[in-house]
């Protein structure tokens, strides 16, 4: 059932980005076989926006408002993936056309726009959303109108919708491996949990606390600050008082910048690892705002770093920079967003149809060997099997990867005892 696309770097040809070239070389055969167009009646029985040679999809992210900072990378990744797929001949012989809508960092707007995409535009799939709140807002819409959403962000889990493919990690995948690693490699005994005050950090810290206590170790403090908070001197004093081995941080957005700058200024040198900072919220994107010198030495636990050296990623980073500029950085979510169109394409081709129900049925077990993060596979629970890596932040704003789980981690959105 599964469609596999092998990566094989090929020589130069035309001005297509590197990755596309390689993908095209690989997929030429398969595409050729498929391009004998399958009749419209066959691939689209539910009235989606598919014609003889095009298929419409939606991109739904915030271009304006506070979340635009975070969501820009995802939009870029999704557009890149779509362009690459089109350059390879599209999906079932049809070029992908995208309709981009702005969620404006406002959850009702997300719901409104998703309804527009599904009801008015009848798109075959939507790539979008970033925050949990925006996903929660659109979820009933996708379930009601039977749409398909590819959601890129690492998130708290506790959800499994037949209408969503979660291309980022759920919390246990990201957190457990990270904590295991600091315990083993750094001999950590005490933890301080800090987060912005909303559902993802709170759930993540709950999972972290449970795991830490199961290991027989100690959580010495847990604190939350309102989103957008910019003064962290008090919490830094609490660190100094409690002297945790590990500061486990899930601060987001503008607060992040303030937190790391003030941590550094307060004389906590993260490169000395006393205490060690382990974050699950700072990707390369965030470092741009924080400044590499301010976060030098912190560890991050996620599935993707730009510095990964496998062939897929080298080609991906090259293509991304060719498309969006040299000074751009790619974070975990950007990569996960990039997977969305590819996973959808694979599922559609496996199903031989754009029909949502058939694509859904074909999705579990879909594999990508070309993913920048390496091999991924869709679990029946609609999340991805993936590896978790530990990166060590450097002054140039990149992570040096110091650890990688040997096996793919099974996604477990409803971990025992957490719901």
């Amino acid at each position: 059932m599964a469609t596999t696309i092998k990566t094989r770097p090929t020589g130069s040809r035309s001005k297509l980005p590197g990755l596309v070239k390689s993908l095209m070389g690989a997929a030429a055969f398969a595409t050729m076989a498929l391009t004998a167009p399958i009749s419209l009646a066959e691939v689209n029985t539910t009235g989606l926006a598919v014609t003889e040679d095009t298929v419409q999809v939606g991109i739904l992210h915030s271009v304006t408002g506070t979340m635009a900072i975070s969501e820009t990378g995802s939009v870029q990744a999704e557009k890149l993936a779509i362009e690459q797929i089109n350059a390879m001949g599209g999906v079932l012989g049809r070029k992908i056309e995208y309709i981009q809508e702005d969620g404006a960092s406002d959850w009702p707007t997300f719901a409104e726009k998703s309804r527009k995409l599904l009801v008015n535009d009848k798109v075959a799939a939507v790539f979008g959303c970033w925050t949990s709140a925006s996903r929660k807002a659109v979820l009933p819409v996708f379930e009601q109108y039977n749409g398909m959403l590819y959601y890129p962000t690492f998130y708290e889990g506790l959800e499994q919708s037949p209408n969503v493919i979660y291309t980022g990690q759920e919390a246990t995948q990201q957190i457990l491996a990270g904590i295991d690693w600091v315990v083993k490699a750094k001999n950590a005994k005490t933890f301080y949990l800090l987060g912005s005050d909303y559902i993802w950090p709170r759930t993540s810290n709950k999972i972290a606390r449970k795991h830490i206590e199961k290991l027989g170790l100690k959580v010495v403090g847990e604190d939350y600050y309102p989103l957008g908070h910019t003064q962290f001197n008090s919490i830094i004093n609490k660190f100094k008082l409690k002297k945790p081995d590990v500061i486990f941080a899930s601060v987001v957005g503008g607060s992040n910048v303030a937190f790391y700058k003030q941590l550094k200024a307060a004389g906590i040198d993260m490169t000395k690892e006393k205490p060690l900072v382990l974050t699950i919220s700072v990707t390369e994107d965030e470092i741009l705002g924080i400044g590499g010198e301010n976060i030098d030495g912190a560890y991050a636990s996620m599935k993707y770093f730009q510095s990964l050296t496998n062939e897929n990623n080298i080609a991906f980073v090259k293509a991304f920079k060719e498309r969006w500029g040299d000074d751009i950085v790619i974070g975990d979510v950007t990569q996960a967003a990039y997977l969305g169109p590819w996973l959808w394409k694979a599922a559609v081709e496996a199903a031989g149809s754009f029909d949502i129900d058939k694509v859904r049925a074909a999705s579990p077990g879909i594999e990508l060997t070309t993913a920048p993060e390496g091999y991924v596979k869709v679990h029946p629970n609609h999340h991805l099997w993936s590896k978790t890596r530990i990166g060590n932040a450097k002054t140039d704003g990149q992570y040096e990867i110091v650890y990688e789980t040997p096996e793919l981690i099974e996604p477990d959105p409803f971990p025992e005892g957490y719901q």
Binding site: T230, G254, V257
Partner: protein, 308 residues
């Protein structure tokens, strides 16, 4: 919660916590001074105050890039140049805004709120178009990084000291300007009786423009300083606006001393509570405290009982 610690450790922590409160105090003073002038003296509700601060931050970012590219040897001192440029840029924009918008609205204070809110949206979008939606990282000179080790535990962040000295300097300058200079007398006379001030030959339009420009300029300097401790992005300015207004209103809008006293009260309350409670709850309690006091004393902390 303190059972496990020795007395000296506790003393040190309290010392540092007090210092954290002082830094917060300085931050509030810097945020609020510009607004205290604009809102307190001129009665203009400038909702774009945060955006003026962010303008200062972006100017600092640009200056740091210019220094890094062309004069790396002088990089250590770029911050002072940046603050001056930030003052000039924000002040100039402020004067332009006063000329284009505010001067038509002096009799309608609530309308200045709407107009400046519109202005803040436009500025945000300009920042986004020019600098991108992402936050930019401002590189600080090395001497501003790190902290001074006083005892084993007590460490004082250098940028905190810098922010504090800046707050003190600017407060002093403003106080001197307001209460000692000829211009200050003019400002205060315009505030108290506009027609009369005009009648005795004060160019009220010019005084207004300069006052507004000064308030915005101070916001720019504050924004420049905040690149050390906060984020610089198109919407970062929004983070400051509520706190800033509360500080000014709580202090009794017309009094600079009141603004400083209120910044002190609020910062100490917040930072003490933050130490004992979670960050969110202490924020809520601080706001409730301020609102509660304002209900009891609507004129703010410092206001003269005057004959009507």
């Amino acid at each position: 919660m303190f059972a496990d610690y020795s007395t000296s450790e506790l003393m040190s922590i309290f010392a540092m916590q007090g210092f954290a409160g002082l830094i917060l105090f300085s931050v509030f003073v810097l945020m609020a001074l510009g607004l205290a002038i604009i809102f307190g003296q001129m009665g203009v509700i400038n909702m774009a105050h945060g955006e003026f601060m962010i303008l200062g931050a972006y100017v600092t970012y640009l200056t740091s890039n210019v220094f890094a590219d062309y004069m790396p040897s002088l990089f250590g001192s770029y911050f002072f140049i940046a603050m001056i440029l930030a003052f000039i840029a924000a002040g100039a924009l402020g004067m332009f805004v006063e000329w284009a918008l505010i001067r038509h609205l002096y009799k309608r204070p609530l309308d200045t709120l709407l107009a400046t809110w519109g202005l803040s949206l436009i500025l945000q979008q300009i920042y986004r178009s020019v600098f991108g939606a992402r936050e930019v990282g401002v590189t600080l000179p090395d001497w501003l990084m790190g902290s001074i080790q006083l005892t084993d535990i007590v460490e004082v962040p250098i940028n905190g000291i810098f922010v504090m000295s800046l707050a003190i300097t600017i407060s002093l300058i403003v106080a001197i300007l307001m209460y000692k200079s000829r211009w200050g007398i003019q400002v205060r006379s315009v505030v108290q009786n506009r027609p009369m001030a005009g009648a005795v030959g004060i160019n009220t339009a010019r005084v207004d423009r300069l006052t507004f420009g000064l308030g915005c300029g101070i916001a720019g300097v504050a924004g420049s300083a905040f690149t050390m401790i906060g984020s610089t992005g198109p919407t970062s300015g929004q983070l400051y606006i509520v706190d800033t207004f509360l500080v000014v209103v709580f202090g009794g809008a017309q009094s600079l001393l009141g603004t400083i006293a209120s910044a002190f009260t609020i910062s100490q309350a917040q930072s003490t509570m933050e130490f004992f409670l979670s960050g969110s709850m202490s924020k809520v309690l601080t706001l409730l405290f301020v609102v509660g006091i304002l209900m009891l004393r609507p004129q703010g902390l410092f206001s003269l009982k005057v004959r009507r």
